[in-house]
Symmetry: C2
């Protein structure tokens, strides 16, 4: 009986390895999508932007195949509660990666529109820096998952604050450019959405890191996350109209 | 053996009923959140906006308890492939409802900022109409789930186009108000995000309806959805800067 259990356990482990390989592949594609979307925006490279747009289908296909695989494993192996938790976490992570792919694709779409307009100051460089930070966070979050490294996952969660801060700074910049010259408004609206997209990618990466923390220590997001959203309730900032966009939807 | 199977099946059914009751409760709270967020914006009712903000915790708590329940059922009952598909669908639906709650909360947050500013034309009425449409879509999507009514689910998916259209119209209106008077920019940025939030709620409702179609006929979103996004690639519209925001992140 013990041998049978071991056999079942190792079959599950093999299945899990297959699923994890898919997550890593998705992660690699998502990282590339973030980097290339930001690069195409800064260098006004329409061809690269188009690659990001068409490349998203591969991420979507991986998510679908991963979900099917995960459902098959659950049905076939009837995993224990803790093994089941791993499979469900991986499914959530794949949903986060799929969303990151969508957001990169949306950035690339806006880039193809923006290349036809006047550049707005140095904002595309700032956006690229912000995107690079998120990409590095994603890389670390996936490493943290594979190595079950809680400290690294917590570090990723911490770094998301910097991304939020960069977003706030950019938001103020776009407002200034719009007030300066109304002809900047359309481009700024697109750039603002791109900044918001990158900020949301950071939230998805944070969610992946939170899954890692949950898997390693059982701690839930509420126990970890100390959201500092004073700016959205501070009336002075509210009156200045510089708030309300730094808050995530949480 | 047959009796044993029947016993197992009915235990699963009982569990599923419990999970479904939770989804319906979540759905009811999400509907109320949409309606009240839009109402508080139009009537400038800060107290109601605060209720929406604090009420979101109940939706989050239901999602968590639903996910735990679902994981418990999968671990305990080892459901068949088709039963497993139902449980996984419900988990996805609960994630959609949780996001709708978050987006409503974000709307309410922005409302508490907007009540301190000059109203922008009749845009809050338009936003409330848009929110009402999404709320009715959600009601129908949940009815379609309970009754396994594919036709109703397809109708919901179809109606999301109208919501996208309303968003496009509002986007143009906000641009006009900003160009007209730069002092409108801050309020319009908030209102624009609110419009985008409602449009994204529509996407989440569509995703719920797609789950229903998948459960009833096995058809996947790609087989159903015919996205009409000509406006984002039509160069004339692009040059006018009136595009790029009507596209979802798909």
């Amino acid at each position: 009986m013990k041998e049978l259990n071991q056999h079942i356990a190792s079959a599950f482990d093999r299945d899990l390895e297959g699923i994890q390989a898919k997550i890593m592949k998705m992660g690699g594609l998502a990282e590339a999508a973030i980097v290339n979307a930001a690069k195409s925006l800064e260098t006004r490279d329409e061809e690269l932007a188009n690659q990001v747009r068409t490349g998203d289908a591969a991420i979507d296909a991986l998510e679908e195949s991963l979900n099917e695989e995960a459902a098959r494993v659950i049905a076939l192996r009837a995993p224990t509660a803790s093994d089941l938790r791993i499979v469900l976490s991986v499914m959530r992570m794949s949903a986060n990666l799929e969303r990151i792919g969508d957001l990169s694709k949306n950035m690339a779409k806006r880039t193809t529109v923006l290349v036809q307009m006047q550049p707005i100051g140095g904002t595309t460089q700032s956006l690229r820096r912000m995107a690079r930070d998120v990409e590095l966070m994603l890389k670390d979050a996936l490493d943290a998952y594979i190595q079950r490294d809680e400290a690294l996952a917590l570090d990723v969660i911490e770094r998301d604050r910097d991304v939020d801060q960069m977003y706030n700074t950019l938001f103020r910049e776009f407002l200034t450019f719009m007030l300066e010259d109304p002809r900047n408004i359309t481009a700024c609206m697109h750039l603002h959405f791109i900044a918001k997209n990158i900020e949301r990618m950071g939230d998805h990466v944070t969610s992946i890191a939170e899954q890692v923390v949950f898997l390693t220590s059982g701690r839930k997001p509420d126990d970890i996350r100390i959201k500092d959203d004073r700016t959205s309730t501070d009336p002075r900032l509210s009156m200045e109209g510089l708030d309300g966009d730094e808050d995530s939807e949480d």
